[in-house]
Symmetry: C2
Amino acid sequence: MNEIFVGVDLGATYIKTGCFDSNLKLLAKTSAPTQAEKDANVIIDNIAATIEQCITNAGLSITDVSAIGLGCPGPAKYKDGIIEAAPNLPTLNNVPIRQMLSGRLAGKTIVFENDANVACLGEFTTGAGKGINDMAFFTLGTGIGSGIIINGKLLTGPTGNSAELGHTIIYPNGRLCTCGQRGCAEAYASAANTAKRAVEAVTAGEKSSLKKTFDDNGEITCKDVFDHSKAGDELAKRITDETAEFLAILCVNVLHTAEPKRIVFAGGMIAAGDILLNRIKYFFDEHIWNLKAESVEICFAALGEDAGIIGAAALAKAKLK
Amino acid sequence: MNEIFVGVDLGATYIKTGCFDSNLKLLAKTSAPTQAEKDANVIIDNIAATIEQCITNAGLSITDVSAIGLGCPGPAKYKDGIIEAAPNLPTLNNVPIRQMLSGRLAGKTIVFENDANVACLGEFTTGAGKGINDMAFFTLGTGIGSGIIINGKLLTGPTGNSAELGHTIIYPNGRLCTCGQRGCAEAYASAANTAKRAVEAVTAGEKSSLKKTFDDNGEITCKDVFDHSKAGDELAKRITDETAEFLAILCVNVLHTAEPKRIVFAGGMIAAGDILLNRIKYFFDEHIWNLKAESVEICFAALGEDAGIIGAAALAKAKLK
């Protein structure tokens, strides 16, 4: 019989779900609001209902499902199925979510993993990771998530909190990060902090076409920075370049750590296109050592928003092997 | 029959060799000058002679040996048995050293690995790694070598150049490293650079008891810095603290990368003792995030100079399994 796997990407805003066959071909997908402000029971009911709807849409029932993969924000006790301290899912923290969800879904096996790790596995399995065994992955959004594939396997670590490269420090005692550390890569190069650095520069009086955006909208988005950079604004170009340089340093550091053959960037920020990618490559060449030539490829992700549900299903499939 | 393994630690100054039984009990050890200034053939003859002497000292012959492990400085094509660009072994670079050495040793299997990785494996197998599955390792000498154990296995990467954490960048566009990069951890926190930072401060006119050392000896060593720090000199204390802080940041970064349960420091610098270890721990607590409590243990290595030969023998043993 053909095995069926469900992949779930639990975010603070939406629950996304996909139903897949044993070749990880997508049969159906659904999404629904998480309602993160509600009680844990409500959120878990929402997840269960979204999964059931997805299975129904695929013309199947819960008994047809072999296993479910669930990508969640962390930090978490992933091996125990418990989110520990996800800032945007406060009511779910320290709740036995895997156990409760399994109880609502006929006791099905649920594999629990970090959301960025799951997206990394998705890209590795059917996206930008084709043809290689060693890959690093960064997803650039409000924060910077990351994942590492070593010899074909996702690096998870003893509790599942490996590959939090957004929280590696690249400036000792630098900018304050939401995690409480100073100088994290995320505190400089995430979409939120790229926008924030632009706001700081504009409000400090630096000349820029972004000033009008800020005056009109009361904010500057990361997309604004990239758009004004494309239009030739000098400040926006500098902010874009700084972000690219920080990301290039993350590439240097992950190369010297796990030796990936490909480094894949994903997330909302990659909509910027070549003005971001080409500058990351440029700064990588500037910063990498000259002891020996490196052959790592830096590229953008291929799967868009589906990476999470595909990776979660791939994880469920791998669990049963 | 009891299997016999030989572990070799090839340094720029000495070749160290150990002969071990199948439980990695040391039967005999030898060492000899590398003669790094000589031709590759001479160096390889020196290695072969040192190994043969060691086996003879153990009352055995080359036919008794199951496999040989060899730890070498990098970067190298470890999987191919070729050193690529080791600055202190210029004549050995791009020479098929594994093949040539095997030819001189009855065609024995030789496993080739980075010297810091091998020392890491040695500590993990019979030293400071007891009772854990996930470990990070830093060896503090002229440079900073490192190794990572993930779920009981050495992280090597596709060509064996993983875990070069001394060359991760912690200050974009910072101090120039011998590798050609700027802002590497090694450019701040190695023994050589700790000493160099002290020389820079003294020659810039900062008051310190190290000034007399510099005037008398024409140099300041890392040991001088720690000795003067213990004696209460303010500049020496500041330089020591800065080194400890950089090393603590390496600990934060490797924790967020590979989630080790223990981080082990080795190499000449650990002779400094508690004034170094306690300050690394202090700065780790200062820099680590507050999202969740971390339980990583930071400690010094247990095996001293034997870590390399034990790790190399452990690698040879693992290869045959």
